[in-house]
């Protein structure tokens, strides 16, 4: 992962998203492999964590302390001036509740508190594990705004989530995990562009299907109500296909690129 990326970690329940983050933060020791932060620090060496805002699973605070006191403890650990506490409470929409004890917050507000804590000290890296857990639609939108604005500032964000629409909206890169294994990773656009699907149609679709079956360009084809869904083999373009069909005496009445959603790509990958 490089500076400035918003890196989504996707995977079904139990795929190892949280475990991966916990290993990266040094809470769990890995059996194999190595994690390095800022090109030099291991998870066991804690000095770098002051520059990383982390939320793993659910937030943990002292239930009997108010929000300011809870954040004072975080500020002391991260060596951040107390003045920043009020900024992050404003950003998270909790300023009015700053003197409430943590135990009196609703689940959604506790999640907002976690976001406030993560933002404390304006760290260069944010590690967010399911940051929209328990949030209402407004809260989800707020978190999205926060992530987008941090992205604008050039911050690096690692985001584990199974809300794929959210990931698709904010992430530049994704990795898909299943049973602790990496199925795919790369820039979102590249992942979604893989195995591009075309929907084509002609006056005589049967003749079209016959021509397709003889072509070397076609990877898969599927006759559906709205047309023939095809995917091209690597190295072939829709233009080449169109030219080939013209040579076969078939004029296409429909040639449409079907943009894959992250959800459909994800479901295909983890199938």
């Amino acid at each position: 992962m490089s500076k400035g990326q918003v890196y989504g970690i996707l995977g079904p329940n139990g795929s190892g998203k949280t475990t991966t983050l916990a290993i990266a933060m040094g809470i769990i020791k890995s059996q194999r492999g190595k994690c390095v932060w800022f090109c030099q620090n291991t998870p066991a060496d804690n000095s770098w964590k002051k520059n990383v805002g982390t939320l793993i699973e659910v937030p943990y605070f002292y239930p009997y302390l108010d929000l300011v006191d809870n954040l004072k403890i975080v500020a002391e650990i991260k060596q951040v001036p107390f003045g920043d506490i009020f900024r992050v409470l404003q950003v998270a929409g909790l300023y009015e509740r700053r003197h409430s004890t943590y135990r009196t917050l609703s689940l959604g507000m506790q999640q907002r508190m976690a976001i406030a804590s993560v933002m404390l000290g304006d760290p260069d890296v944010l590690v967010l594990d399911e940051p929209t857990n328990g949030l209402d639609p407004q809260g989800i939108a707020d978190v999205r705004e926060i992530i987008l604005s941090e992205r604008e500032k050039g911050k690096t964000i690692i985001l584990a989530s199974h809300i794929l629409a959210e990931v698709e909206r904010v992430c530049t890169h994704v990795a898909v995990l299943k049973n602790g294994r990496l199925l795919a990773d790369g820039p979102v656009a590249q992942l979604l562009g893989r195995d591009e699907t075309l929907v084509i149609g002609a006056k005589d679709n049967e003749k079209l299907m016959k021509a397709l079956s003889m072509s070397e360009m076609i990877n898969t084809s599927d006759f559906r109500e709205d047309g023939i869904w095809i995917s091209l083999k690597e190295g072939f373009t829709p233009e080449q296909l169109n030219r080939y069909l013209m040579e076969q005496g078939i004029a296409l009445s429909k040639l449409e690129k079907k943009k894959k959603t992250l959800e459909s790509q994800f479901l295909e990958l983890v199938k």
């Binding site: 302390l65 002391e76 650990i77």
Partner: protein, 275 residues
């Protein structure tokens, strides 16, 4: 700006209601006990209860009384340590950037803060009662047994370190307090019973407990030095009322060694265990 563990721990304990209530209870019970002791009537020729409050005996008396309430200090340490596991805040603070040794040091500071509080409590009450009950000459003995305050300080640190170790191992408040009780009142005494009387003095709870023994009331008289010399022979040990006790300096060294051992085991476990 440096991470200030003292400030972090103070935020946690000063706003924790149960902590403040128990600390208040500790102080109150100690005061009541001292006041009640001062009112006790003892019918022993040559002995007055007020003598217990005269320097230099006052320090023996006050650390002995304060020792009754060490359990409350232990409960406080167990409570604040087990809270960190119950609230998963050890884990969160580790994620936020504290090292495991910082987590240990934080609780070490709580133990020291409580020990200093207990030390000051005994020193101030001892000084007050010593001055109020004594006539002029008794003040001369102010520093004579003053070292007992430091012995008491070590005792509180040792007990609280044992409580901390149990809390780190058990993680639950109720279970840890129960284990501490059982260890002190049942497990160690039973194990001690299997050993020779001379060896029994070297067990951890026994060693720590023996730091502040019952004052030798029969050697404490307000009579002349001549009388005192005679009375000195009437120790509890000489009368067979208590078993053989190790010299104080040996007890101190042993208790300090046990304290170090408790902390080392807690550190070892905290380094290895999941948070």
């Amino acid at each position: 700006m440096q991470t200030n563990l003292v400030r972090i721990e103070l935020i946690k304990i000063l706003k924790y209601k149960s902590f403040k209530v128990l600390l208040g209870l500790h102080l109150t019970l100690y005061f009541i006990s001292v006041l009640m002791l001062s009112q006790v009537e003892v019918q022993v020729p040559g002995f007055k209860i007020g003598n217990l409050f005269l320097f230099p005996h006052a320090w023996h008396t006050f650390v002995w009384v304060a020792g009754w309430f060490n359990l409350i200090l232990v409960i406080l340490v167990i409570m604040v340590t087990c809270n960190e596991f119950a609230f998963k805040t050890f884990r969160q603070q580790f994620i936020n950037g504290l090292k495991r040794d910082h987590l240990l040091a934080g609780k070490g500071l709580v133990i020291l803060i409580l020990a200093v509080y207990a030390f000051l409590m005994v020193m101030l009450t001892g000084t007050f009662f010593g001055i109020v009950s004594g006539s002029g000459p008794s003040l001369s003995g102010f520093f004579e047994n003053f070292h007992m305050l430091f012995v008491y300080f070590l005792q509180t640190v040792a007990y609280m370190s044992l409580g901390f170790l149990i809390a780190i191992l058990m993680r639950g408040t109720a279970l840890s307090i129960t284990m501490f009780f059982l260890l002190r009142l049942l497990i160690e005494p039973v194990i001690r019973g299997f050993f020779e009387p001379a060896a029994r003095q070297f067990f951890p709870v026994k060693t720590i407990s023996d730091l502040t023994p019952f004052p030798e009331v029969f050697s404490i008289t307000s009579e002349s030095e001549v009388m005192k010399e005679g009375a000195d022979a009437l120790t509890f040990e000489a009368m067979g009322l208590v078993s053989h006790q190790l010299p104080l300096y040996i007890n101190v060294l042993l208790a300090a060694a046990y304290t170090a051992l408790f902390i080392l085991i807690a550190r070892f476990y905290l380094q290895k265990a999941g948070l």
